[in-house]
Symmetry: C2
Amino acid sequence: MPADQYSENHTIPFFEGDVTYRMTMPMLINILMLCSDHQNAKLGVAQQTLIDRYGVGWVVTQYSIKIKQLPRVDETVKITTRGTSYNRFFAYREFWIHDEQGNELVKVDSIWVLMDEKARKITEIPQDIIRPYRSEQVRRVPRLPRPKRIDDASQTTTKKYQVRASDIDFNGHVNNAHYLEWMTDVLPLNFLVAHTPRQIDIRFENEVKYGNWVTSTVLVESQDHDEVKTVHEIMSNDVLSSSATFLWQKNDVEGNFR
Amino acid sequence: MPADQYSENHTIPFFEGDVTYRMTMPMLINILMLCSDHQNAKLGVAQQTLIDRYGVGWVVTQYSIKIKQLPRVDETVKITTRGTSYNRFFAYREFWIHDEQGNELVKVDSIWVLMDEKARKITEIPQDIIRPYRSEQVRRVPRLPRPKRIDDASQTTTKKYQVRASDIDFNGHVNNAHYLEWMTDVLPLNFLVAHTPRQIDIRFENEVKYGNWVTSTVLVESQDHDEVKTVHEIMSNDVLSSSATFLWQKNDVEGNFR
């Protein structure tokens, strides 16, 4: 039997959009997480159940995001997910976002691990937890593109952010979506208005905690043929917390922003 | 005929909740604004229509928020609004949030003005714009409680925030909900976990712009009978941008937050 596939619709309210009426990257990640949460609950393995019964929780270590077109404010999209394959320690989950005509707007590959909530260490994936997804057991899960590291610190731009109460989820962790907010906000608003991300490869390395300061650094690496590559690092107390590579495409300015 | 009344349902996703699974104040404001936007559109006077045809837009100057119980993550609530009354310059709009059993959870009174988008000045409310709401024309709209000002600067706590790209809406303004984020985040996380707002009176005075730094200041004024009063000011370049008074009630700690 193929892997269990779960879909739901979502209409994008104004507060999930940016100045150009496009869905923000943090909100795009949030609606994918919501969809996988709902599949987990449907299959009887909700995050809360895992914490209560096994003392473990799923954590994303890597996303590879391919964007043909960003969902727009007031648009209704269909989000689909499945847990495609897994091995002893890693699970590979896919997401798709389609418009109402069935066109694929966004495809996301993600790698997950199970974290022991007390020890904060990766644990083996128990059969009881993975079985409901009907994921294929494999020797190796797909290897997602590794983000580049910043090699030339002389050309970077930096902003500092303090982790807010509202950045913390019900488990006391920083919601992954906020890393994408820190990574995009370090770029100037006029850049964000004039460009759309086409591909994002992001890895999460070390957790940051409430009240900590993080430094978001970006290097604009190449600007060829209307395409820009940016390399991002989020550091906290000199430790790498997350790294990412973005490919951006120039676009026509939309919306009322002046 | 009574004023046009509009209702819609909303299910609270995890990313609209805080560490205690309760809806955050910024998100509560967002879903009210979404509801009034949908009423505006239904009545043929959407924000975009007002900008395109008249060069004006509605702006909230004051909210008075009474909370019996905050909506919780995964709960479906019903939001209701009507434009109750207006005079030459001010419109009075009411909101209610009910749970699925019909219990009132939240009541919000709000005062709105029409802003000329180019001149950034308040303009008279034209009949064409207000007529569809069937609001009552009155000499005086209700006067909402005026927030206190901070009188003792020696006991205050302060945090600084830089206005982010994601704080800006499609008109280039800071979405009002972010003021509530700055006002709550200045309080320590353990205070936020242990208290629930019961009443919030907030006034918006002067706009802040992208890239500006704001200072969020709070004075914890009284702690009687399990009730705490906090007085808030948001300043930008030494100008008062927003002020608020919050009444908080102590509550049992919920959720997994440790």
